[in-house]
């Protein structure tokens, strides 16, 4: 048995479901449940997203067969919490390649769902998950040393963030080292942050609104090249929800 959560699912043939599963042991896996949509099946609810399930997969092909699935815990999400859950799923679908086993990420994901279903405040949960995802994808960066030559971050210097590497001193960067960079990265060149602020960000005090705001900016810069020009559709719902309030 393996623990898993359904990220998304589509109707398959007349009575089945094709599942995009995030599993603890095998990463993202596609599997088919042949009769999940038949009238007598109780699997339909078990195989809804945001439910921790125990599963057994069979078959050697690219697409597995779901031999059994039992619900372990459901994380009920409402309104913005629901859109936030969708946001996590969309991030994983976009950025996590299939069959890449990252057990730590699975635990972080389930923890995030648990927090979303329990807490009122969603933003710190989302930012924390975004950062953890970067770490698991080996795209994390240092909060204590710059990405140019590994010098210690100095409180009085302004830095800018280069996605995929980290913080670089703003002045040096502007002169010679990065001339002719890809245009995708020029977006992040607008954002400058002092070494002192970087050190604060590195302590992850996301309950502090000021820190949270800057951390969001940081994550936006880090994810921009990963997501490219195709926007996340769940963000559309989150933004509309903020406007509706």
């Amino acid at each position: 048995m393996t623990r898993a959560v359904v990220l998304h699912r589509w109707p398959w043939q007349e009575h089945g479901l094709l599942l995009d599963l995030f599993t603890e042991g095998f990463g993202r896996v596609r599997a088919i449940s042949k009769y999940a949509r038949s009238r007598r099946s109780s699997l339909r609810a078990t195989l809804e997203p945001f439910t921790l399930i125990d599963i057994e997969l069979k078959g050697r092909g690219e697409v597995k067969n779901l031999a059994r699935a039992d619900s372990v815990q459901n994380f009920p999400l409402r309104s913005v919490h629901l859109y936030s859950g969708l946001y996590l799923n969309e991030l994983l679908q976009r950025l996590l390649p299939e069959h890449t086993d990252l057990p730590g990420l699975f635990i972080d994901y389930v923890k995030s769902l648990e927090l979303l279903s329990e807490t009122q405040v969603i933003e710190p949960v989302l930012r924390q998950f975004e950062y953890r995802l970067l770490c698991h994808l080996d795209l994390d960066f240092s909060f204590t040393h710059d990405a140019n030559d590994g010098n210690a971050i100095e409180p009085g210097i302004l830095y800018r963030f280069v996605a995929g590497s980290g913080f670089v001193p703003a002045q040096i960067e502007n002169e010679a080292l990065y001339i002719g960079e890809a245009p995708a990265e020029t977006a992040s060149s607008e954002w400058l942050i002092s070494g002192a602020e970087i050190s604060v960000l590195g302590q992850f005090q996301l309950a502090n609104p000021q820190v949270l705001k800057q951390f969001k900016q940081l994550m936006r810069n880090a994810y921009a090249p990963l997501l490219g020009s195709k926007p996340l559709r769940s963000r559309e719902l989150l933004l509309a929800a903020v406007q509706n309030k």
Binding site: R233, S234, A240
Partner: protein, 200 residues
Amino acid sequence: MKAFSPAIAALIESLRILPGVGQKTAQRMAFQLLERHRDGAGKLASALNHALEVVGRCQRCRTLTEGDTCSICDNQARAAEGTVCIVESPADVLAVEQTSQYKGQYFVLMGRLSPLDGIGPADIGLDLLEKRFQDGGINEVILATNPTMEGDTTAHFIADLAARYNINATRIAHGVPVGGELEYVDHTTLGHAFSGRKSL
């Protein structure tokens, strides 16, 4: 090897778009129509053609209908109720109508919000729904979308939209099936049933 003449093959292929119809069933249907029910086949063909010509979407509620608006939207007594029931498909309108419990109007989404499939608010006519909210005359929306993650997402999204126009939003209760036994009901369904409980 070609087993069927082109016309028969095309008919079989066309029948396969129907839900639950595979290759075998499509073949059986095609032979039935061509061998034994040629009159019926003719009627089927012209009925299909006629329906395709005259049936479109209701301009107010988006359900399938002939003419600009459907009979439910045209019914003044139902409009006077001031309630709009939101459903995912025209078949759901029929299902609610058969309960004989609802006397208001409908809005048919023809789908559900599903960001992971790229389906956003505009794709399910929420701009049109918002216009109806703006126009006034609605005091309650009943959210009768399916109890799936997408149905829930859609319901919450519309509830937020309704709140902006001071319209009360309610969600139909989901839970234990009539004639069912608690121990056989899955966690999620039982959870829904608990959160939707009401006093007796």
